[in-house]
Amino acid sequence: MSVLIQDLPGAVGPAGGTRDLGFARYLAIRFLLIIPTVLALVSVVFFLMRATGDPITIAFGDRLTPAQLQVKLHQAGYDRPLLTQYLEYLRGLATGDFGRTATDDQAVSTVLRTYGAATAELAGYALLVAVAVGVPLGMVAAVYRDRAPDVALRLLAIFNYATPVFFLGLLFKLVFSVWLGWLPASGRASIDVQLELRNQSSTTGLYLVDALRSGDGAAIVDVLEHAVLPGLTLGLLVAGVLMRLVRTNLIGTLSADYVESARSRGVSRFRLVTRHATRPALIPVVTVLGLQVAGLLGGAVLTETTFEWKGLGYELAHYLSARDFPAVQGIVALFAIVVAVTNFLVDAVAAVIDPRVRY
């Protein structure tokens, strides 16, 4: 988790070469903190998974005798001391070897590569929705402070981030797929398009990119159709947070002395909001967006399952139910790395753009 070290008002930061060295040390410490963060998380997952059963019993417990089950558990190495298994796992992790899945015998790295693109694409759509909805509506709420539009938008924001993501997803499906029939209920593309994209000579796994590369307009529309509901569902979760944040910050900057000063100089209302007040109000949004990555990945598990969006979240749910240790550990490790690296980048960006950060 990132921690911003902020100056007290009026404090003076280091300057020149000392400042550069301090910045480098700040980044190095932040970067090194990624290791214990990831290690702690994968360790917790390692032991928790083994406390909830094993993939062999889940798969064959309803047809093999206890002796036959024991043979299979031995074959898989799950009867070895837990510490031995843990050290072996850490050794593999240190060399970038995530192992092979227990239930479908794939390299975990292949699973991460194959399904990671889908999750990245969904996260991209969600961030787009979050910014496109959260920032403008937050601005409107600030401008209409304590008036009807503001109240309505604040309620909307609370609804967005308080509503469970799977419920919102089901609601959207019911309205837009079942009742209105406007949008597909599930999947990343229709079967024909999926086959068409899959059969291209090279693919990125990002369907929109692949569809654009194919130049097939129908495929592009099809991919976008399938992206609307999952993107909205996951994006609105973050949009609610952004809406509240932008509103609060904008209200603060609109009452700042320099804005009052600008107003007294006759600056137009439009320029006052967009040029003078909004930009400073958006600085914390960068930080919050970074922090929301963890929320997005958590939300992705439910969103992907709700919409059959075959990404890492979808696979995580599948492998969890099968107690597939290597697969779950691999996916969680990747999630942990993504969150930790994102937080590192956010800290770095915040240190660059926010002069109050001291290092």
Binding site: G61, W182, R263
Partner: protein, 552 residues
């Protein structure tokens, strides 16, 4: 602080955001309910649309040596062939890749192959491939594979390209032909598969080692797989009526249901809930087909820890038997089938389900009203006669994460039925499957729920699996007479005599009642109205054979 009037531009910005969303939505409103945007790019060829099947059963591996699960089996039965298979309309086995099979010695089966067999990749399919396939199953013995089914196979020889000789460990093994028809008996291409390890799916797809009715085209594991009819196939099932099939995978059965309802997919097999099936029956354009299934559900008594069991404070075999029989008198299977499972399951009166050769409803004539219904008076008389004080306390365990959420309703109703007699007090408890599996074999559960589906379609799979001392049920039931009968039927070459032995086993265990069969599963296939040929695949084989289906 002074208030600002809302600038028009801010309102415009918000409106723009809303309009953008509306525009994205609006541009999608042209979607047809049953089609896709790229509807013209059918993979069926010659204007034929592929048959699209939906499933939630995930694939473990396409290598028959590395998988033994419903998801992998769904694909494997379409792309690989065994030597023997189950022909349409029966539960028996007949030659598939084989031209014939003979018992040529007490421990020896000789199989002759059809001449001119080929894999889809053009390689010849000979006895060498058959020997290779069985040898590698035994050598790899993968933790996820079915090699344990080949427990009686000692060796395989291929004296000439069309002849395979199987040498068994025990004499007169009447079950071995059945085992040849299972996933352990799929014949694979020795030029594609390694002898000592499971092959990766990507390498299998690249090698095209298909000898079943279909060949895999595009393979996106557990996402989307496309198939096309295999022109090299000469097996029992014949040329597929529909050339192209797409198999789409789902995690959530509700999405699967919605897609078949809206016509996005054509058929669903196995994976819908009772409530979904009931709902789909009312939908226009959708047909729900049901046939018998090989899955069964039953209650097990642990003979050590059940009331008056051998490890309790008051062990008494006669009283323990009376308790078991009184429970058998009291359960109302028909009510369970109709009230909980809405008729998708049927009452079961033997551990061998209806449709399997030799199945005999032995419990029907012995318990309750002797017509299949419950009888409180009969139960009370049994307990009184044995001197069992009532109410008898039954600690009954069930499971919902393995045997389905309906288990909760099923066992709540069983509790109601038993307590309505005034003879029992039932303490119900549910436990997660991983713990359940350990506890039940450790004699922690006096009475508990189990289920079973067949490895191969033979009564023995429902008898030896339950009533042998080393059975997976592990409820401490051992009876020398039953064991002797099971051994006899397993080695009896004469079909009529074997059937009689199978019936004797069922009668004997019905009297001892160490477990109470409750319900037999059904096979449900949901299709769009445009799909025909489903009834042909709803037979005793319990397999969804795509080759039988057509799409209008």
């Amino acid at each position: 602080m002074s208030r600002l009037k809302p600038p028009r531009t801010a309102v415009a910005a918000a409106s723009l955001a809303a309009l953008s969303l509306a525009a994205v939505t609006a541009c999608t409103s042209t979607r047809s309910p049953a089609g896709s945007a790229a509807a013209g790019s059918s993979s069926g060829g010659a204007g034929a649309r592929p048959l699209i099947i939906g499933t939630t059963d995930q694939v473990t591996s396409l290598d028959p040596a590395g998988s033994w699960d419903a998801g992998s089996g769904t694909i494997e039965i379409e792309v690989y062939s065994p030597l023997l298979n189950t022909p349409r309309g029966t539960s028996d086995v007949a030659p598939d890749l084989a031209a014939g099979i003979k018992l040529t010695g007490p421990k020896e089966y000789t199989v002759t192959l059809k001449p001119g067999l080929k894999f889809a990749n053009g390689h010849d399919l000979t006895s060498s491939d058959v020997k290779f396939s069985f040898d590698r199953q035994l050598k790899i013995a993968d933790k996820n594979g079915p090699s344990s089914l080949l427990y009686d196979l000692a060796s395989v020889a291929a004296p000439d390209p069309l002849t395979v000789v199987f040498t068994l460990k025990s004499a007169n093994d009447a079950l071995f032909p059945r085992v040849l028809s299972t996933g352990a008996g799929f014949v694979v291409d020795e030029q594609v598969f390694p002898a000592d390890k499971v092959l990766d799916d990507a390498a299998i797809i690249a090698g095209k080692p298909w000898d079943g009715p279909y060949a895999v085209g595009t393979y996106d594991k557990n996402s989307l797989v496309s198939f096309t009819a295999n022109p090299a196939y000469q097996g029992l099932l014949g040329t597929p009526k529909v050339k192209d099939v797409d198999l789409k995978y789902y995690t959530d059965a509700s999405n699967l249901k919605l897609d078949v309802q809206q016509g996005t997919i054509d058929a669903v097999y196995r994976t819908l809930t009772v409530a979904d099936l009931e709902d789909l029956r009312t939908k226009k354009g959708v047909a729900v087909h049901t046939g018998s299934g090989n899955g069964i559900r039953y209650i097990v008594f642990d003979l050590k820890t059940q009331p008056f069991g051998s490890a309790t404070k008051q062990p008494d075999a006669a009283k323990a038997l009376a308790v078991r029989q009184a429970v058998a008198d009291s359960v109302d299977r028909a009510q369970l089938a109709t009230q909980v499972y809405k008729g998708t399951l049927t009452p079961l009166y033997s551990s061998v389900p209806d449709g399997i050769t030799g199945a005999t409803p032995s419990l029907k004539a012995l318990y309750g009203d002797k017509k299949g219904g419950p009888d409180k008076a009969a139960a009370a008389a049994l307990l009184t006669q044995a001197g069992v004080p009532t109410p008898v306390v039954l600690n009954l365990q069930y499971n919902t994460d393995h045997y389905g959420s309906s288990s909760a309703d099923e066992y709540a109703l069983i509790k109601t039925q038993l307590e309505a007699t005034g003879l029992f007090t039932v303490n119900l408890q549910s436990t997660a499957w991983t713990q359940y599996g350990k506890d039940r074999v450790a004699d922690q559960y006096p009475v508990y729920q189990l289920g079973w589906y067949a490895d191969y379609l033979d009564a023995d799979d429902y008898l030896a699996s339950f009533y042998s001392p080393s059975s997976w049920v592990a409820n401490n039931y051992t009876d020398p007479t039953v064991q002797a009968l099971i051994t006899q039927e397993e080695t009896e070459p004469d079909a009529a005599k074997r059937t009689a032995l199978i019936q004797q086993v069922q009668d004997k265990v019905a009297a001892d009642v160490p477990l109470i069969p409750l319900l037999q599963g059904s096979t449900a296939i949901v299709t769009r109205d445009s799909v025909t040929g489903v009834p042909a695949t709803l037979d005793g084989a319990y397999q969804f054979r795509w080759a039988e289906l057509s799409k209008q």
